[in-house]
Amino acid sequence: MKIICFLLIRALLMLLLYIDNVEAVAYCSLRDPVAQIEQLFPQKTNQLSIVKTVGEDTRALVKIALPSNDLHFNELGRHTLYIAMLGKEPLGYVHVRSEQSDWGLVEIVWAIDKDLRITNFVFQRCRSPKKKIAQSSSFKDMFIGKNYQELKELLSYDGITAKQSVLENAQEAPELANVVLRCALKTLLLTEMLWGEELVKL
């Protein structure tokens, strides 16, 4: 019994040393975006999860890289990047990010290739009445194929809205274009910042 108590206390102390940001919800409620990964990479045989911490230091770096932007508090904590696998071969990456909008949080499941370019995206949650427009290929094409730098060029001077040309292409959903653009930028930035080293080794 003494050994068990010793191990439990030691485990607790070690955990305190490696303290991380936590999620607000109990971990039994975590759900992988299984159906969306299947939709984005239909040929995949499995997925490989890599969990990293989005902490206050990361948040500060995002504010420097993307002035006028911030991470929602739900975006802090331990987050998963999924590698879509065909056998032991990585096909690409899947990263879920949330962005605040006038209709609550918009959660987007991003498919990213090995060069960190957007290859596709689907909504995990989007309660905008104009969601269908954002699901059309003409809307998606504004973001697909682009990397972080190319997407950043779509931002206007205020750093939070898209340039006029993007808003015009977004038909009647310019607000969603702003949300999707900000979310894409943060997703690619965080993917490289937190997971970049491990992805190179794959």
């Binding site: 485990a11 490696y18 975006p33 999860s49 890599i50 605040q100 609550g104």
Partner: protein
């Protein structure tokens, strides 16, 4: 807490302790989430003219197991020291109104690496897959979908087969009916299952089935649950029909329904909900009608304040209407 289940979770945490203490910490900490979770709840039961408190402090963990070709599965372990203070009626996990004990909430492993045609296999102590609770986790929150009252237990030890496929998701379990005990007691068991549309959609509908015997009461249930979200509003409901057999061969019909309207702020810090709960038993002359209004406010990622008030709107045979006010603060570190 009884020995078998306690040993199951103790082994989990001892293993966790052993590997964390060992040099291979870096490997085990990979894909590990953990949190210290503390809460204090104040309850005032107006019908009983009683004020009580519940304190809980525990460790919440989640670990994804992987190999070179992908994820193998994940494990969830939640062990909470829970202390009652003047709490009446005494919950089944405790022996007196001021009792304290270590409580296992969820403790299970879910194997997910099988081929596409094979369901995932979950083993351990988990929430029964039934109704709204399958999609909306209420563990540790004031928000409740009354799974325990409806089925006889919210969590149980056993095995489940589950999967998300392109348009639907399902979860079917066989559990021992011992609730917190890792054994069948006097022939107890529970077969529970839910099939539904994908959980992340704006409109979700699910069908649940239950057949079990827990605490000597046989229950059968068939339920439909649904959720619809529009902007920051949500409307959801559950209707469960069935029958209970408290004594041999005397089945009595039961009907339970819940309707909820909820609203969140656009930054999700504030959540408001109102519920109408109707519960009808064949043996009762009147349908119990309750209103539950609640809110939660997330100050930071760690800190949440919740409040709720339940009031019975019909006059029960006893003449004493249920009336309960609760406040909870919760901190996850």
């Amino acid at each position: 807490m009884k020995p078998l289940s306690f040993i199951f979770l103790l082994l989990y945490f001892v293993l966790l302790g052993a590997v964390i203490s060992a040099p291979c910490y870096a490997d085990f900490s990979k894909n590990l989430r953990w949190s210290l979770d503390g809460s204090a709840r104040l309850n005032h039961n107006d019908a009983m003219d009683n004020t009580s408190r519940i304190y809980a402090f525990g460790l919440d963990t989640h670990k994804v197991f992987t190999n070179a070709s992908g994820d193998i599965g994940y494990g969830v372990g939640q062990l909470y020291w829970t202390k009652l203070s003047n709490h009446m009626p005494v919950p089944f996990l405790f022996t007196s109104k001021d009792d304290s004990d270590f409580i296992i909430r969820e403790a299970h492993l879910n194997y997910t690496a099988g081929p596409n045609w094979l369901p995932n296999i979950r083993l351990g102590h988990f929430t029964l897959p039934f109704g709204l609770e399958e999609s909306i986790d209420t563990n540790g929150r004031l928000l409740d979908y009354y799974l325990g009252k409806n089925l006889g237990s919210k969590l149980d030890w056993g095995l489940s087969l589950n999967k998300v496929i392109s348009k639907i998701e399902y979860n079917v379990s066989y559990t021992l009916g011992g609730k917190d005990k890792l054994k069948s007691i006097d022939g107890s068991y529970a077969v529970t299952g839910r099939i539904g549309s994908l959980n992340h959609l704006d409109f979700v509908v699910g069908l649940s089935l239950y057949d079990g015997k827990i605490d000597g009461i046989s229950r059968k249930r068939l339920a439909i649950d649904w959720r619809y979200y529009w902007g920051t509003w949500g409307i959801l409901g559950e209707l469960a029909l069935g029958e209970d057999n408290k004594q041999d061969n005397i089945w009595q019909k039961e009907k339970y329904s819940l309707l909820e309207l909820n609203k969140t702020s656009i930054n999700e810090q504030l959540k408001l909900y109102s519920q109408l709960i109707l519960r009808n038993r064949e043996s009762q002359a009147n349908t119990d009608k309750l209103i539950n209004i609640g809110l939660s406010y997330q100050f930071t990622t760690q800190f949440e304040l919740s409040m709720s008030g339940v009031k019975q709107i019909n006059r029960p045979a006893s003449g004493i209407k249920q009336q309960l006010a609760r406040v909870q603060i919760r901190y996850r570190y």
